[in-house]
């Protein structure tokens, strides 16, 4: 089942022509009306007339997250405030948050994207979707909410938390689909077990739309086997609008609707465009965006593109499961963690050497675990175990407070962790996606 068969099944040649037309229009519009983009293109030595084919997109300059931060809150918006109908704001983990504005058309295109995606996951009229993503400034809740309503599903806008009630309502209202983070679904499964409820036998749940954190095929298999449902990966970021794209029932990559966005893969070092199948940094151009245009936006996620026609018949390219990040950001249990934050916290604790630390991330079962190795400062050494345990407890507490996620802490002797001459490599991430 396709939501919009004409668009989703459009022959590749036609789709390319459509994408080229949309890109050309977008570039002309921005060159004329966006001082930010006008300057960027001038710096890059590219005029809109230089864009003569879809491939010429590589002549356009990249956009970075820092561009949004540097222009906080709305200096690169190309819609005036009276045209905006909504704001979403990122959490601002690394400093200033980023603000995304939406015109009515932006919301429409977001909703359309998800209507196609949810349909591709086999959902529609008659389904009851429990939206267990956060509502509010975070894009997950409202994004899925409107997408599910659009396809005629019944929405249970429950948000996050209160897991027992989530399970109770799941039973009472015959919920068939849930949208949440993969780790939350694992938690729901475990909680249900404790309550003596089997998701497989005692509920009508059959589909999970899971995202907002990296997860693996292993978790998919576990969740599908244990809960007796099908779970699908969803992709998006607030800069693109929010969660926008999902897999189809084939589970062979995430469909990026060609008339909405144009994905590229580049070599993160050289910026060179890479062919389908090669792994690199995902760069997205949102072809229809009014309030906050995104051209060649470097999201920083590592993946590859498959542009062959999917077994489901959809022609849009698919991106593979996200395999990591270009920058040093980690996502641990759904929370963004930057090594710089860890360093900042440790610097505030005189008993440890803040500049020398190591982060190890593993996955134990379905849950991420993070270990921070910290060197004790010489002066803090006491031969009393209780004193050392106090230092350890303090580091654990302070990290938990600043990162919003718990980390195990290991104290090591000063001078024993690796030192770096160039860029420090402080993170060992052993998770497999």
């Amino acid at each position: 089942m396709m939501w919009d068969p004409r668009m989703e099944g459009m022959p590749a040649g036609d789709l390319k022509r459509l994408q080229y037309r949309l890109l050309k229009t977008l570039v002309y519009r921005l060159y004329s009306f966006s001082p930010f983009y006008h300057d960027r293109m001038k710096e890059a030595g590219t005029h809109p007339d230089d864009i003569r084919s879809l491939e010429d997109i590589t002549k356009l300059p990249f956009m970075y997250k820092s561009d949004l931060r540097d222009n906080y809150p709305d200096r690169i918006f190309t819609a005036s405030q009276d045209e905006l109908v909504r704001y979403h704001v990122s959490s601002g983990t690394t400093g200033k948050p980023t603000v995304v504005g939406y015109t009515a058309n932006d919301l429409e295109s977001w909703t359309t994207s998800l209507a196609r995606s949810l349909t591709a996951c086999g959902l529609g009229r008659g389904d009851v979707m429990q939206v267990s993503y956060g509502y509010g400034l975070f894009t997950g809740g409202l994004g899925l909410h409107y997408g599910a309503e659009r396809i005629g599903a019944t929405v249970l806008p429950i948000g996050t938390g209160n897991t027992e009630r989530q399970i109770e309502l799941m039973q009472d209202l015959h919920v068939t689909a849930i949208a949440c983070t993969p780790s939350y679904l694992v938690h729901i499964g475990e909680t249900a077990n404790r309550m003596g409820i089997s998701i497989r036998n005692d509920t009508d749940l059959r589909v999970g739309i899971l995202g907002a954190e990296p997860w693996s095929e292993g978790i998919r298999t576990t969740l599908q086997n244990e809960l007796g449902i099908r779970v699908y990966d969803i992709y998006g970021t607030s800069e693109l609008s929010g969660p926008m794209f999902t897999e189809c029932t084939e589970q062979q990559g995430i469909h990026i609707w060609g008339d909405i966005a144009y994905p590229e893969i580049i070599d993160p070092e050289s910026g060179e465009h890479l062919p389908p199948g090669e792994k690199g940094e995902l760069v997205m151009t949102v072809l229809k965006k009014e309030a906050l245009p995104m051209i060649r936006y470097r999201i920083g996620d590592i993946t590859s593109i498959d542009d062959s026609v999917c077994a489901c018949g959809r022609t849009s390219p698919r991106i593979m499961r996200i395999q990591g990040r270009v920058d040093d950001m980690l996502i641990v249990r759904g929370i963004n963690v930057f090594p710089s934050q860890v360093e900042h916290t440790l610097m505030g604790i005189p008993e440890v050497v803040g500049s020398a630390f190591q982060i190890e991330v593993d996955r134990r079962g379905a849950l991420d675990s993070m270990l921070v190795r910290v060197e004790m400062s010489k002066d803090a050494f006491s031969d009393k175990i209780t004193d050392l345990m106090k230092v350890k407890a303090k580091v654990t507490h302070d990290l938990r407070n600043s990162l919003n996620v718990a980390a195990d802490v290991e104290l090591v002797a000063p001078g024993t962790l690796p030192r770096f001459e160039g860029k420090a490599k402080r993170v060992i991430d052993r998770r497999v996606y």
Partner: protein
């Protein structure tokens, strides 16, 4: 102060809880010709503290520090115990009644009898109390 001669410099070494750590400490002391007279390991989750009485504490400190170990000196005392039931109780009772806290201790029972190594919160007062009660505190020269 008279009690000073009873105060022994124990070396304390921070050690990660990993295979081979103790071996490298012991090997270094051997190379430097340092004899270990009494010894204990306190362990917590992920790390431990090796405590030792050695014949040449300054040399041990220098050797281990140069190898990158975190080493410190701690003042401890050694008390002769009756090597029979009640021996430990006698000493613990004296300190307890004097309101002196034992932070940790370890013991050995050798050919010259049983010895209790104590780290207490008020060292000189502890020595005084034990001596007054008729106990025997070993002078540090016996070790170092």
């Amino acid at each position: 102060m008279a009690e000073k001669k009873y105060i022994i410099k124990q070396i304390s070494i921070f050690s990660e809880n990993k295979p081979g750590r103790l071996a490298s400490i012991a090997h270094a002391l051997e190379e430097a010709g340092i004899n270990i007279l009494a010894f204990s390991i306190a362990e917590a989750n992920g790390f431990g503290v090796v405590r030792a009485l050695v014949n040449r504490p300054d040399a041990a400190h220098e050797t281990l520090t140069s190898m990158g170990f975190m080493v410190s000196f701690t003042d401890v005392i050694a008390v002769r115990m009756r090597d029979e039931p009640g021996g430990l109780f006698e000493i613990a009772r004296i300190l307890g009644e004097a309101g002196i806290n034992i932070e940790y201790s370890y013991a050995y029972s050798g050919k010259e009898g049983a010895v209790l190594i104590l780290r207490i919160d008020r060292v000189e007062e502890g020595v005084r109390q034990i001596l007054q009660a008729g106990g025997e505190v070993l002078i540090s020269d016996l070790f170092q």
